[in-house]
Symmetry: D2
Subunit: 299 residues, 4 copies
């Protein structure tokens, strides 16, 4: 099996991750619909810039995709003449996108039929972690395939978790993002109430972080972004809304009532309608303070 | 000013806290409506068991109350012939209960009129922390009064935070409990979805705790209670519902929209209607799994 | 028993109702804290303008109150030297305010102890109906007392419904207002979606009113107010929010989960925070369209 | 253009509607995947039972579909060798299913490209209305095409409303079903509270129907179904949940925040998880009463 790896999707997450692979010596066929995103790979003579996604897959032992959502994965991987049509039996198709479980299952089934091994390994943590090669991966794969992709994932991240067979990575990612995004909005309500009550923010945070009321979004994301007055993404509210939509829909199909997830999703929908979609999701605090007519929470 | 301290309310939180004060040598007048709750104080000859709340206050330099809710604080402190009528100017009235800000403000105003210093210092952390003398206190008090009560609070806890003037402790507590209780329910939704997706719990928790999706409830409360199959309180769902009600009502008065808090409150209301009110609030996970028809989340 | 009737509270609802009684020949002692509200009664020589609520009650066979909320009823009726202290055994205390069931029960119990008959008869329908003497009353009273107050209520309204013993009028009113106010917000969501979909409003209303999707708020209140561009109250969003708060709190005490009521209450809370509190509750449609960034629904 | 009409989908709604057309003399090619559903058409010698959906369309001047949801419409109409491939330019493809606007738009565009006229005409009112030929249709069609299909629709219904161009019928239906289904759940909350308050149901309904709190679901659907102890469908909770899901998703795509719709959807999701999915949607009242631990609302 060839050691070359196709890498399709060089956006805010995909590009730094592919660069980390290139720096560690992996030989890549890179592709993005925006040619300027391929530019930084010029300096690696092990990397080839190709003209389409299927070309990236042709002859590769593994093809990696980092795409915006389920529709793109479906089209680019399964479309006629797409990635799957260009992969050989025994090779690996590894998708790092955050998508609907049912699309993951559909791609996995199509791969299986062609004798291609499927891996879903969505990305945990933030864009800044991807830059630093410190991502976390939730991996759905057969055990022996997990062992084959692990070195690649270790080039891009520090925590590689084997969640179970194909499809389990995507599902674990949805659970994870549900908690991260809903926490983010919950914190926004708390911040608006903190300001409405006229409390000092720093002391209030000391209280929260001193008890079981603390959460990772408040401690990590809020602390470095919105509390410093920086709400440029990072992770956009539009994307958080998209993820929460995947979660709410999956839960509804699974007959799991999630009233808090649903309320949070509508809150993000309000934020988007009011023009906040392009801001970092910690910026939900500013939106909520604006809604409540109080001043913003800043350290 | 007398060094004797009135201590009124010796329930699941008040009793161990008063015992910690007694052990550290404070001279207490203790009272609870259930005489058996006073029993353990027999062994301290610095402690006197009295027959009523006003008697506990009489002649004391400070009177401490740990009562179930706003109605009890209002009646016991402000009622005719109650605690306030028995405190001398210059003494301190310190309430550790979790109550409505407006009741705190009303008690504070009544104290001020009588020349009594008011402190609100509601308790953070769990009953097990109170047992161990490791509580956290959110203190609303004038600076010089804070300095006077600090040694008392240090007898009962390890983290004493001065949140601002009278009333700010109660408000900080509400923010804190909003996050703790809403996280607790949010986790319950996440656990039901984890089981519905057929994911391994331990690996899913590794994912969550490896990202900003983590929260203190999941890491501390869930880990030691519901994941071990123990849903005896701890902190009852009924009390969590009461606190969330105080929060939602205060937020509504302050015109702060809190759709996620409101959805969580109704979820707890469902749990209570289904007979779960007496269970630990981490038991919400079991309730949510039952609702979704999936097996319980256990490690 | 004297035929004179005390009438306390001459606001947007109380004034036209008292005027209707005066026109039909009832002898009233009228009082409002705003003297100008008493002015129109100058023309009736059967009416006396008095200087306080207790004075209105003194010597009356029946005292009627129409007050803003539970706190006012509690203070004005039960306060020391208040209305109840001035009513004689055998007389009737009839409250038309919309208040919490527990306050109604408290007032009823206090009346009973003094031998005064208590009636709760909150008002249905809109301010324009009160003007026209076409209100609906939900009456909680013993049967024989109902027969005594019925002629008074018939002077102010066209539909007098005996709901059961004391306290049942208030409870029926809460159910009623829950449906009216929540429908009103539900319609607002529907109107925003209608405009976002680019549908013709008149045809869409033909569809709705042709099926079981129709509701009284859309057919009556929306048709005459917001669809005509008129969002002056009528019934203010602030008052609708207050009522919905009474309902959600009563339901929570009764352990009845009401997730839709709770979501609607938060939506009204948002509207208030954004400055819409003084508008007619059909104006929620305009608020929701603004939130969604679409044009307003007008016929 | 041929007068023959293809009619695909003979379920609880489609069968009685097709029978009404047959009785009025229309010549039909009928098809359902369950052959027994075609049985009743044996008695009409103008009707032909065919073996597939495309066969029903072949040579027809109009093909009508009544299918469960968007996936079925997409597959049956647009699939290779499907209905559209068998319709001639100038003929009409009329879909009566309740589906996502984007699927309607996709089918409409595909029809246009082939020179086939597309009509979306989803069905209003209940199954009993379909039986009686008293349905309401919300029609999206070009004006001249509307005139061509109107006689067919008049064979099945009494109210034929032209909502605008192709796609507008589907959108009007979503608005309509949002109101009907959300009202239905709102009523369920009201009924649980009515029983918890111990109020008499008949009198409470007199109150509600005497004010703007009334709604069509309570007056029509509840009165004839759940209040009589009959919760057999009618319109299943599972289908109501499916429709509400279409609505919430469409609204989210349109950036219209619908917190009440979202809360209602989760409530129906709870009902389904608890085994109520197959009951009539007025049965939500029984589910909600069960949740609240009160007795059912019966007249």
């Amino acid at each position: 099996m060839s050691d070359r790896i196709g890498f399709v999707g060089l956006g805010r997450m995909g590009q730094p991750m592919a660069l980390n692979m290139a720096r560690k010596g992996f030989a890549l066929n890179v592709f993005d619909t925006r040619p300027e995103q391929q530019q930084p790979f010029t300096e690696f003579n092990t990397c080839e810039q190709v003209g389409s996604a299927p070309e990236a897959a042709k002859g590769a032992g593994c093809c990696i995709t980092v795409l915006p959502g389920p529709a793109e994965v479906d089209a680019v991987v399964l479309g006629a003449g797409g990635i799957l049509d260009n992969l050989e039996p025994g090779s690996i198709m590894m998708d790092l996108s955050t998508i609907l479980p049912e699309v993951t299952d559909k791609v996995a089934a199509a791969c299986k039929e062609k004798g291609v091994h499927f891996v879903d390994a969505p990305i945990g943590r933030l864009a800044s972690h991807a830059d630093a090669g410190e991502s976390l991966f939730m991996v759905g794969a057969e055990k022996e395939i997990f062992d084959r992709v692990k070195p690649m994932l270790e080039a891009m991240g520090t925590t590689i978790l084997h969640c179970g067979g194909p499809g389990s990575g995507t599902r674990a990612k949805l659970i994870n993002n549900f908690l991260a995004i809903t926490s983010c909005w919950m914190n926004a309500e708390a911040m608006a109430l903190t300001k409405a009550f006229g409390l000092d923010l720093a002391t209030t945070l000391d209280v929260i972080h001193g008890t079981s009321a603390t959460n990772g979004q408040l401690k990590m994301n809020y602390a470095t972004k919105v509390f410093q007055g920086d709400i440029e993404p990072g992770f956009q509210i539009d994307l958080a809304h998209k993820d929460l939509t995947l979660i709410v829909e999956s839960a509804n199909k699974a007959k799991v009532p999630m009233p808090v997830a649903a309320a949070a999703r509508e809150a993000l929908s309000s934020a988007r309608a009011s023009g906040w979609g392009g801001k970092d999701f910690s910026g939900l605090a500013d939106y909520c303070c604006e809604l409540a007519g109080v001043e913003k929470a800043r350290l």
